[in-house]
């Protein structure tokens, strides 16, 4: 293809967008609206994922030591635990600190009640162990359980299992949702673009009759589709960036919503923007080529 022909195709693509007025608007707005929805959901899913991971990270193993174990035994046990594979960290919690923690947790109302226990602390000293990966917790716990001087060992088996079940369900559901939405968006957008092009089947027919090759006919439509998709992704990208930044700041400064822990801006917003841009471009090109092909036969 000669250079000036390429230039012509690009120009034609742009001109057509202008000439088709309402049609172009319909396509662009379809892209805009759907990318907005897809974008919001990508952010939502990514954040849920992120928070889930944080929750998972809190999973810990509590190793209650024998009341009879002396300091030496405790140190030995600590070293043993440290040598287990996939152990991330060990923290020692003295029985008195444990009681403080407990009394704190029961709430002010009942706190006084248990102050009396201070004199004769019935609790054990504890090692709090974290595995490198939350899902390794179970194997690490099993390894530790073999050491001596352990009174009891607790890693909230049921909680961990439930949590994993739940996060897995959430992740799969999220992925299915986003994929579904993306295909919905692609389908609707390419539908719209198809309709705008069906509107112009006469045009394609005439082009062919005056001797245009299929490639020559396709290029301007290709460019037009690309532009429609890309233009359609501008608003969603802008909205995602400003909207998420605003939300992030609000949540971080807000006191009431402190339990919500959003993903930091840089890591997610730009990735989502790029995804939206690419979807827009692909859908635009695909939608227009797809329908042009229909009229290129004969």
């Amino acid at each position: 293809m000669k250079g000036r022909t390429f230039t012509r195709h690009v120009k034609e693509g742009f001109k057509n967008i202008g000439r088709n007025g309402w049609m172009s608007f319909a396509s662009i707005s379809a892209v805009t609206v759907m990318l907005l929805v897809v974008g919001v959901f990508l952010l939502l899913i990514a954040n849920i994922n992120y928070m889930m991971t944080e929750v998972e990270e809190d999973v810990e193993i509590r190793v209650y030591m024998d009341l009879t174990a002396d300091e030496e035994d405790q140190v030995e046990l600590g070293d043993n635990i440290a040598s287990v594979d996939h152990v991330e960290s060990i923290t020692y919690l003295h029985r008195d600190d444990g009681l403080d923690e407990f009394i704190d947790s029961v709430g002010e109302e009942n706190a006084e009640l248990f102050e009396s226990l201070r004199d004769e602390n019935p609790l054990n000293d504890v090692y709090i162990v974290e595995a490198e990966e939350p899902h390794l917790t179970e194997t690490v716990a099993a390894d530790i359980a073999q050491f001596s001087h352990i009174d009891d060992l607790d890693y909230g088996e049921s909680v961990v299992e439930q949590l994993f079940a739940f996060t897995n369900v959430m992740r799969i559901a999220g992925a299915v949702l986003v994929l579904g939405l993306m295909f919905t968006a692609m389908f609707l957008i390419s539908n719209t673009i198809k309709l705008t092009i069906i509107n112009r089947r006469d045009e394609i027919q005439i082009m062919k009759l005056v001797g245009a090759t299929n490639g020559f006919i396709r290029w301007p439509f290709f460019m037009e589709g690309l532009m429609l998709g890309v233009i359609g992704s501008i608003i969603p990208i802008a909205a995602i960036i400003t909207g998420y930044t605003y939300l992030y700041e609000t949540v971080r400064e807000g006191t009431m919503l402190s339990f919500i822990n959003l993903m930091p801006i840089q890591s997610i917003v730009y990735e989502v923007s790029i995804v939206l841009f690419i979807i827009g471009a692909i859908v635009g090109v695909w939608g227009s080529l797809n329908s042009v092909r229909k009229f290129l036969k004969v």
Binding site: M1, K2, R4, T5, R8, N16, R19, N20, D202, E203, Q205, I206, M207, K208, L209, V210, G211, A212, T213, N214, F216
Partner: protein
């Protein structure tokens, strides 16, 4: 130049528009196709530039067998043929100038060449002053002239015109005819379907008369009329 051997065409709804045509049109000829409405003139013409494909028989254009022509070579065939369509087929979104330039752009011609040739043919059909108009802003006759201009702009070896004077007043029709005669004199083959008895009888050329999809008469210096 153009040769048909035993060509037949039946449309999908069962209408046999063309039934067994043998014809040879030499380079540089000027041929009228006449015949009653529905005789198959347009179908006959459409098969030459492959808008319709015959069910039977062979067609040679410039020694190319259309049946063996690969689909991707069809555009190049069409660039050698200028067609004036019975229903004009102008692009409603493009200006008059763009509509005509279009037929040159597909050949990847230079901008200045395109511009010069378009203005030339617009001058020929006397519509230079309406170059920036849209087709729907033109009268029926003006649209027809644009359609003729487009067919001629890339100086094809064959010019096929389906009823090119149908919407024209006699004076404009004569102007167009003199243009067609001139480009014919320069060596272009002209095939023209027409109902205009006056023109056929005055500019006497070869006349192929069709009826019910068959050639019923073929006179090298004929007159209008097909019942004899």
């Amino acid at each position: 130049m153009i040769e048909m051997q035993n060509v037949e065409k039946t449309y999908r709804n069962g209408v046999k528009a063309v039934g067994g045509i043998d014809v040879f049109i030499g380079k540089g000829e000027f041929v009228y196709i006449v015949g009653p409405s529905g005789a198959g003139k347009s179908t006959f013409i459409k098969m030459m530039y492959r808008e319709e494909v015959p069910d039977k028989g062979v067609i040679y254009i410039n020694k190319t067998n259309l049946a063996e022509l690969k689909r991707r070579h069809v555009p190049y065939l069409r660039r050698n043929i200028g067609v004036v369509f019975q229903d004009f087929k102008l692009l409603p979104r493009l200006s008059v100038f763009e509509n005509i330039a279009f037929a040159l752009e597909v050949t990847e011609e230079k901008r200045e060449v395109i511009k010069r040739q378009v203005m030339e043919v617009l001058d020929l059909v006397k519509l230079k002053n309406k170059a920036r108009f849209l087709p729907q802003e033109l009268s029926g006759g003006e649209q027809q002239r644009i359609s003729i201009a487009r067919a001629m702009v890339h100086r094809p070896a064959v010019l096929i015109a389906d009823e090119p004077t149908g919407n024209l007043d006699p004076d404009t029709a004569w102007d167009i005819m003199s243009v067609l005669e001139e480009i014919n004199q320069r060596g272009t083959t002209v095939v023209m379907a027409t109902h205009n008895r006056h023109i056929v009888n005055t500019i006497q050329r070869r006349v192929i008369a069709m009826e019910n999809g068959r050639i019923v008469r073929d006179d090298s210096r004929g007159y209008y009329g097909y019942e004899g």
